[in-house]
Symmetry: C2
């Protein structure tokens, strides 16, 4: 993975502001007790967690597995869905015979619940065909508790060994942890200081991903190598360069960050980053609104606004160098329409991406490029780790605490009142 | 459908600015020759188009149909996908036995193309199982032409009657129209003055939707009744109220419009509106950036930013009064965690929606509510028609031409150069 910056801003003064925090983050890596607020930085090299997860995968998951079900919302599923969709999920609808498939139950939706219970009744024959990860850091979020009660209540009589097919992933000593212990359900813990949106490389992401045949060792290695690069005061530090670039754009009034992916399968990765950026730096009336665009879908939807509308955005253009091959036939059915006979379709989309980059350059709107070698576990791990450190640095520059989310309680209080009075 | 506004702004002066344009739009309805720029307003009551579409559906589509494939991008598929996903598509992954299913080929993606060609080889046995709509207003967009060449090139030897399974939907006399005529493929035309993002109620949306067992008569009736309400200078005119409210917010510096849907199946409807708003009013350095949120997924992702970050957003809260039933079991597996035993899950999501609305009110951020009676064809038609007229009015207030998209050519020029020199 490489990053390419085009702005000619004098960033060195801003980089210096981060110098001591970069040193601090490097120290955190060795905090094996996860005491520091930035303790998620320890995850990529935590062999204990990696082994614990892989042992549980070996115990629970056989080649019979068809449905790897994740009950969780926000930080408990966005990272997992990002990686799964990038590799398999985005084409699940046209690869119906590939297993295991992941199914994500996040919000409470009666239409989804109803359809899924029927699906379970009609498509799951044996308990070995499914595994259910119930994930909640606090262990008390309404949505995962309700989804778990609905699903487990429905299947518990049909599959007497349903408890063996579940894993609970939560903080040690949360109420959910205790319920898991009481019921004899397998448990994995999330290190206390690792918040939901920084937890994809903890058991939260690792267990369900490993159960979906995703190489979590490669995911972790990509993250680890990127992390080690991103805690050095060097010109190669992607997170430092990127946070400084975003900070300077923000100071110039760019209030929106546009993640522009040229691969539709990365849309969920954008949604993961949306939470990471939104929740980490959206406070004290400050913040940048993250949006996600897909090339070339949004060329036919949002690009008019991006280039003709207000200049309030910083754009991150993300693409991969390697991609599958698919050739346009040389014998054309619509000869008058097409100049692409015999072309590999990846060349066409690359041309659109280059045309886009060039159009951004001509309009002097701030943008930078993130180039994947290819879309695989190693590169996804590297990207996610780069982004998590970038946000820590950006928050530091904006004088914001990247690790809390004080406003989220607002609606919960109101909602509880309403449910209590219904 | 009803709209609920909470702002106490003095809007009457602004409404007056639109009075004569409202009268103009009412006149356009009778423009059976589609000569006026706003001619898309004629579509809901155009019986000729409705009949033509339904006749072709009757000719092409039998109960054998399994895959209703749409090749199109931007205005050629976003509206269709919005309606299909709202009714069926969002749960296709857990209703594998329900047919016909729609498949959307929009951008050129080698991974999708490769998987889909394999899918066609392995899952389609007979030509009656599929129908392909090739949709492009101009008839020359790269993406649909390439996707059509790739797919048709792959199947034409296997299904000798492949031409019978295709429909081309484009402007009369476009190059694609002429190719269709030459090949003997069935054609439907798009009225000249109806632009892509206003075309969902033309054959662009109607043919593929009707082929997916969606009641387009109800869709059109919902749109027609809403349209007739929205071209009156009355206090019941939703489009007028909504455009004035959004305009006043924009003048106060709200640069982002957040469509906050409390039903995950409406996410694609949000993406349709994203194009409608983005492309229609994003020009001359003006514009509002549309974003889409899903309750309660984004309560665990973006709400911190919305309530703790900059106050740069207007929020539209959309929910339906009726929804499916799904009951949380009374016998709880995690008794210490849950206060929702025996509750219908739609009550829980309604409580979250009310809690959210109440939190917006307390923070005095501008918001309004759109309440569907239920999510069905009639209401979807009404919502989409309301939105299309709202955008016409909003553009008028902002002194912007809602019907062109001058910047979209920017990358096309660059892309063509790159492809020519490869």
């Amino acid at each position: 993975m490489k990053l390419i910056f085009h702005q000619k801003k004098d960033a060195s003064g801003t980089k210096e502001l981060l110098a001591s925090y970069v040193v601090h983050c490097k120290k955190v890596i060795n905090d094996i007790d996860y005491r520091m607020p930035e303790a998620s930085l320890c995850l990529p090299s935590d062999k204990k967690i990696e082994t614990e997860v892989l042992n549980l995968v070996e115990k629970k998951i056989t080649t019979d597995l068809k449905y790897n079900i994740v009950i969780g919302i926000g930080g408990s599923n966005l990272g997992t869905k990002a990686v799964y969709d990038a590799l398999f999920g985005s084409i699940d609808y046209i690869t119906p015979d590939r297993y295991p498939k992941m199914v994500f139950l996040d919000t409470i939706d009666p239409k989804v619940n109803d359809a899924f219970l029927h699906f379970v009744d009609t498509h799951i024959k044996d308990a070995s065909e499914f595994v259910i990860s119930i994930i909640s850091k606090s262990g008390t979020n309404t949505e995962p508790v309700v989804n778990a009660e609905v699903l487990l209540g429905h299947i518990k009589n049909r599959f007497s060994n349903w408890k063996d097919r579940c894993v609970i992933i939560t903080d040690i000593d949360s109420l959910m942890w205790k319920e898991g212990l009481r019921l004899g359900i397998d448990l994995l813990s999330i290190p206390k200081q690792v918040g939901g949106r920084y937890s994809v490389l903890s058991p939260v992401g690792l267990f369900p991903l490993a159960g979906a045949n995703i190489d979590i060792k490669q995911l972790l290695r990509g993250a680890e190598e990127m992390r080690d690069l991103c805690v050095e005061n060097s010109s190669e530090n992607n997170a430092l360069n990127s946070s400084v670039s975003q900070f300077l754009s923000w100071k110039q009034g760019k209030s929106i960050h546009n993640s522009f992916y040229f691969h539709p399968e990365l849309e969920s990765l954008g949604k993961w980053y949306r939470q990471l950026m939104g929740e980490s730096i959206g406070k004290e009336q400050k913040g940048i609104t993250p949006i996600v665009s897909i090339g070339s879908v949004d060329h036919h939807s949002m690009v008019q606004l991006y280039w003709g509308g207000p200049t309030d955005k910083t754009t991150e253009i993300v693409y991969s160098q390697k991609s599958k091959d698919c050739i346009v036939p040389t014998e054309q059915l619509f000869p008058s329409l097409s100049e692409t006979s015999g072309t590999n379709t990846s060349e066409i989309i690359t041309a659109i991406q280059k045309g886009t980059t060039s159009a951004y350059a001509k309009q002097s709107q701030p943008y930078f490029e993130v180039v994947f070698n290819e879309i695989n576990e190693y590169e996804l791990g590297a990207y996610m780790q780069y982004k998590m450190i970038e946000i820590l640095y950006l928050a530091q520059l904006m004088h914001i605490n990247a690790l809390d989310q004080p406003q989220v309680e607002l609606y919960k209080t109101e909602t509880r009142k309403i449910l209590a009075n219904k």
